[in-house]
């Protein structure tokens, strides 16, 4: 493998690392946010690509095929934990929090009946969120597996020697193409659409029940609630509409002018 090529890629990878404490703060130098988080990914890609290209260039056809398969599997694993909306909260449900303790299907009764029922509904919503997330992750994994297989097929037969930096970049782009194509097939499918809808709908229910609980506490403390503010907003909007309607009745219609060409005298604005 051309040393210059790997030096270029190592330099590229090093660019993804924060340079100074200040830039670490700006770009999330802890690796969780910003460009800093790409450093490891770039380095891992570089290492894996080198292994593949070395294997593909020097080995027999079966070994080259195995190198391609290993490289594809590596890429698949790299994206397995990728955070998409269903793992970062498109709705209000928190995927990372443990579901509330199950209250079973036992009938709610007594002075706290309403609260018991609300908790039961939240528990059920949380269970639905969890199930939908698992379905989505499984579909994501299916897409990655399909992408890896397509990528491996595209890589075989062994890549010719004399690899350039541009070829390495094309390798990366080819992986992205395979991944997007596989993902698109999955994302357009009914299974994915149903799971995504279930995730959003369950998250909406979870949030609604949580809001109801918080509003109950707010009332106990005589704090304003969102429902009250919504009511006031609605009243204000109604008054505004009445006012606007009254104003419009008084105004002469703008369309009184019949010309569609600009006036000779320039308007102030």
């Amino acid at each position: 493998m051309d040393r210059d090529l790997w030096r270029q890629w190592q330099e590229l990878a090093s660019l993804w690392a924060p340079a100074t404490p200040d830039s670490q703060a700006r770009f999330g130098g802890d690796g969780a946010l910003g460009l800093g988080s790409f450093k490891d990914a770039a380095e891992r890609f570089t290492t894996a690509a080198r292994s593949f290209l070395d294997g593909a260039a020097d080995a027999s056809a079966p070994a080259a095929g195995e190198a391609a398969r290993a490289f594809s599997e590596f890429l698949r694993e790299q994206f397995a934990d990728y955070r998409l909306p269903w793992s970062s909260g498109i709705g209000a449900g928190s995927s990372n929090s443990a579901p509330p303790p199950s209250m079973g299907d036992s009938p709610a009764f007594g002075a706290t009946r309403e609260h018991q029922q609300r908790w039961q509904r939240m528990t059920e919503a949380s269970r639905r969120i969890d199930a939908a997330q698992r379905r989505l992750q499984r579909l994501w994994s299916d897409a990655l597996r399909e992408a890896a297989a397509a990528f491996a097929a595209r890589l075989a037969p062994p890549h010719p020697s004399g690899v350039s930096a541009e070829a390495l970049r094309k390798l990366y782009d080819a992986w992205i193409d395979c991944a997007e194509e596989a993902y698109a097939r999955v994302a357009h499918g009914d299974a994915f659409c149903n799971a995504l809808a279930e995730y959003v709908n369950a998250s909406s229910q979870w949030r609604r029940e949580l809001q109801a609980g918080i509003e109950h506490l707010a009332k106990l403390l005589d704090l304003p609630t969102r429902s009250e503010i919504n009511t006031l907003t609605q009243r204000l909007k109604s008054v505004e509409q009445l006012l606007r309607a009254a104003q419009n009745k008084r105004k002469p219609r703008v369309a009184a002018a019949s010309r569609t060409r600009p006036a000779r005298r320039k308007a102030k604005q």
Binding site: F38, L84, I90, R169, A197, R208, N230, A257, R259
Partner: protein, 333 residues
């Protein structure tokens, strides 16, 4: 460029100010601002053009920087350009409906321009979702619109390649909105999820692997700023838009009503120009091309560009072709 200077350039560009052309606020209503751009070329003397941008992103994408500005391109053609900035809705705007946006805000802007310029009609350019709003406005007030231009505007929301439409088809939108606003961040996540590998990985890799200079970094960061500068959506309008258009495809079904008044696209007889990006992943070309069979205009022109959704605003090809196409189409009308 060294590592340190690369980060310094990124840091400097991240504080950049979007928008390059000079403009004046000529009217406001609530959070809305109506701007008029100052001319940079000899005016053609034609009817002013009001640009109606989408609610889901900020309109400065149309005037990002001097060499990437649809607005600047139009100004250079001598077009008199107005732009609506919808602002950032907050909790107090949660009950704002599509009727409010179309019949109060948009109508207010049109009235203001017509009154100030002593005209009876102007030209409308609706961009993306703003194109849908413009179509509705033109159908409600045909006497106030002289020519209508739609750009990357969805009309048929149920085309086979429309992934967003498929995703939202079974979502309970009323429950999702729940009388509140919809987070712009959540919508951004959704948009990124349409092509997650390209939009969250590859573009950053290309930036770094391309050994960008300072100007390229600044260009990249301006777009980056725009992409993630996503206003929350007024809940009621969002619920109506997704339910009526994405889920029920009402424009095609010819059953949209705004403020109790029916929107009949077949009654639209005014000259229409439809601009389409053939590689648009957000608004598939067929979603826009459907407009021709739905409207009653005998003067309908569709222009297709080999560009994606964002490329229609900022690509070099768009700068060369789109403003000129608009100006040339408007000139005899």
């Amino acid at each position: 460029m060294t590592e340190a200077s690369f980060y310094a350039a990124l840091a400097a560009a991240s504080d950049g100010v979007a928008g390059c052309s000079q403009k004046d606020a000529v009217w406001e209503s609530g959070k809305l601002r109506l701007y008029r751009y100052r001319p940079i070329a000899r005016p053609t003397g034609g009817v002013p053009l009001l640009i109606v941008y989408a609610l889901v992103n900020r309109p400065y994408m149309l005037d990002l920087q001097e060499d990437r500005s649809l607005i600047r391109g139009l100004l250079a053609q001598g077009v008199d350009v107005y732009l609506i900035d919808w602002g950032y809705p907050d909790g107090a705007d949660r009950l704002t409906t599509l009727a409010d946006y179309i019949d109060d805000y948009l109508a207010g802007c049109v009235n203001q321009i017509l009154k100030a310029r002593r005209l009876s009609a102007l030209n409308l350019l609706g961009v993306c979702q703003g194109g849908v709003l413009s179509l509705c406005f033109a159908a409600l007030h045909p006497q106030r619109v002289r020519n209508l231009i739609t750009m990357v505007t969805p009309v048929d929301f149920h085309t086979p390649t429309d992934l967003l439409s498929k995703w939202v088809s079974k979502i309970d939108i009323a429950a999702w909105v729940n009388n509140g606003n919809v987070s712009g961040d959540a919508l951004n996540q959704l948009f990124l999820s349409l092509m997650p590998f390209r939009l969250t990985q590859q573009k950053y890799m290309h930036l770094l692997a391309g050994s960008p200079d300072r100007a390229q970094i600044e260009n990249f960061m301006r777009v980056e700023q725009w992409i993630f500068d996503s206003p929350d959506q007024a809940g009621a309008a969002f619920r109506e838009f997704v339910t009526w258009f994405y889920q029920e495809n009402r424009l095609v079904q010819n059953c949209v009503a705004i403020g109790g008044r029916k929107i009949d696209l077949r009654a639209l007889r005014l000259p229409m120009l439809n601009l389409i990006g053939t590689r648009d992943h957000l608004v598939p070309p067929n979603a826009s091309l459907a407009l021709q069979r739905l409207v009653g205009s005998a003067d309908y022109t569709a222009l297709e560009f080999d560009l994606g959704h964002i490329g229609m605003y900022i690509s070099a090809r768009a700068q060369r072709e789109v403003p000129a196409a608009i100006a040339n189409w408007l000139a005899p009308r």
